[in-house]
């Protein structure tokens, strides 16, 4: 069996990063109607679980590209323009859970799910913190607004979505992974 490396990016990763990004883009576009009242640009997007899950299942680069490119696609489909630092944040949100990729042998094992849940929360926290802080630089807001207006609602929404849907996707993927023999 081929040996896996944390940062590998071969054919398999190229394809799954593209699938993850396309799924994230399509789901984001579909669920944009579920807008949370908390903040202007934050919507309740179950789709955020896609880059997190793709990170866990296929590695950090796949998670990163699923989030980064997927967010671009979602914004392009909705016609909202290009917000590169939020794309970067979404990429990090997928990349960080991907750091446990090599340690997972069974996707339905309790310890794998707990590890993934912890990384989902860390990923959502760091992933949304980076663009929120960059908004200080670009938009001239202060730290309180960046945290209260951007980071907190985005982190809360993304972490909740990830915590609920990533384990469901992991359990479903366990049988798929066994079927494909990879």
């Amino acid at each position: 069996m081929e040996e896996k490396h944390m940062w590998q990016f071969g054919t398999r990763e190229v394809v799954y990063a593209a699938i993850g990004a396309a799924l994230y883009g399509v789901f984001s576009w579909v669920t944009n109607f579920l807008a949370l009242p908390a903040a202007g640009n934050i919507s309740l997007r179950p789709a955020v679980s896609i880059p997190m899950f793709f990170g866990v299942a296929f590695g950090p680069w796949v998670g990163f590209l699923s989030g980064f490119v997927g967010n671009i696609l979602g914004d392009f489909l909705s016609g909202w323009g290009f917000w590169w630092y939020w794309d970067l944040g979404n990429g990090l949100m997928g990349m960080i859970p991907g750091l446990i990729w090599l340690g997972i042998t069974s996707y339905k094992a309790k310890d794998a799910i707990i590890k993934a849940e912890v990384m989902v929360v860390i990923g959502a926290a760091i992933g949304m913190l980076v663009p929120s802080l960059l908004e200080i630089f670009f938009s001239g807001i202060d730290l309180k607004t960046a945290i209260g207006g951007y980071w907190f609602p985005a982190f809360l929404s993304d972490a909740i979505n990830g915590l609920i849907l990533v384990p469901i996707l992991m359990v479903a993927y366990d049988s798929v992974a066994a079927r494909s023999g990879r």
Partner: protein, 290 residues
């Protein structure tokens, strides 16, 4: 459910430029804009990006949803920032100032009394112009750049072959996956799944998405195996790839990049050598406080 890209050929001037030149120009203008807090300079950039917008031949009907989204987002954040501290990139706005209103709110037993000063209001206006300029600069891209060219564009901008190809593939997968989603939605509805009835708390709402998210994702992963095998059989990644669409810089592209560079260098000279362009408050605005 039909997924359509916002792009369609409009025979506009903007579309005649090489996408790489447009990305480089946009990034240079972005980094020039963020050097300023003086509304006079920001209005120059606002005029520049609105000129770009005018050259795209976009109509109000096509873009009104995006305009509302951008304006709501900017006004919400600026209002929040102004009420919370009013401070931004320029520290002098934080302390003191000429009082315009002193508000007093009682929320959950706490007394909140933000003070709105002339300086804060003027800073908020500068902030709106700056944020709008940055948003409009990039807002036209989905409408005016052919999605088939993103892969080759980012390859041309230095992204490694595999990453650029992955990006290209993602754009191509969107219609297929949207169709799969639509089929799954119809199948689940036939089984009694009611996507429109989104009642219950947030957690219940998210869990209700699982019957849609899980089958579409697992189906896509299974199909992905076939694509991986097909690409491996064709020796993908052994040599640098060639692209169906080729991009070539024309004279106008070099001129666009040069124009962007001139503005960027001028911005550096104005801010770092002449020390002009920091937060500016006209003296006549102080009369508002009286």
């Amino acid at each position: 459910m039909l997924v359509t890209w916002k792009y369609r050929p409009r025979q506009s001037v903007i579309e005649t430029f090489d996408p790489r030149a447009r990305w480089i120009f946009s990034m240079l203008i972005l980094f020039a804009i963020i050097k300023f807090w003086d509304i006079r300079f920001l209005l120059f950039f606002f005029a520049l990006v609105m000129t770009q917008y005018a050259l795209t031949k976009l109509t109000w009907a096509e873009t009104k949803r995006a305009w509302f989204f951008i304006l709501f987002l900017i006004l919400f954040i600026v209002a929040l920032n102004t009420l919370l501290t009013g401070r931004g990139g320029t520290a002098e706005v934080l302390h003191g100032g000429h009082v315009l209103w002193r508000l007093e709110w009682h929320v959950l037993g706490l007394s909140i009394h933000p003070t709105i000063t002339v300086e804060r209001v003027w800073f908020a206006m500068s902030q709106v112009v700056r944020m709008l300029s940055i948003s409009i600069l990039f807002f036209v891209i989905p409408y005016t750049m052919d999605p088939r060219l993103y892969g080759v564009t980012f390859r041309g901008l230095g992204l490694p072959d595999r990453f650029a190809f992955s990006m290209d593939l993602a754009f191509r997968f969107v219609p297929t996956l949207a169709r799969d989603f639509s089929t799954t939605l119809d199948a689940q509805k036939a089984r009694g799944y009611e996507v429109e009835r989104m009642e219950g708390g947030i957690i219940a709402q998210i869990r209700k998405m699982a019957p849609l998210v899980v089958p579409v994702t697992m189906n896509a992963i299974l199909s992905g195996e076939d694509i991986v095998n097909a690409m491996d059989l064709r020796c993908f990644g052994i040599r640098p790839r060639t692209w169906v669409h080729q991009l070539h810089y024309q004279r106008r592209d070099h001129l666009l990049i040069a124009f962007g560079l001139v503005i960027f260098i001028a911005a550096i000279i104005v801010r770092n050598v002449l020390h002009v362009g920091d937060f500016w408050l006209p003296t006549w605005a102080l009369q508002w406080a009286a």
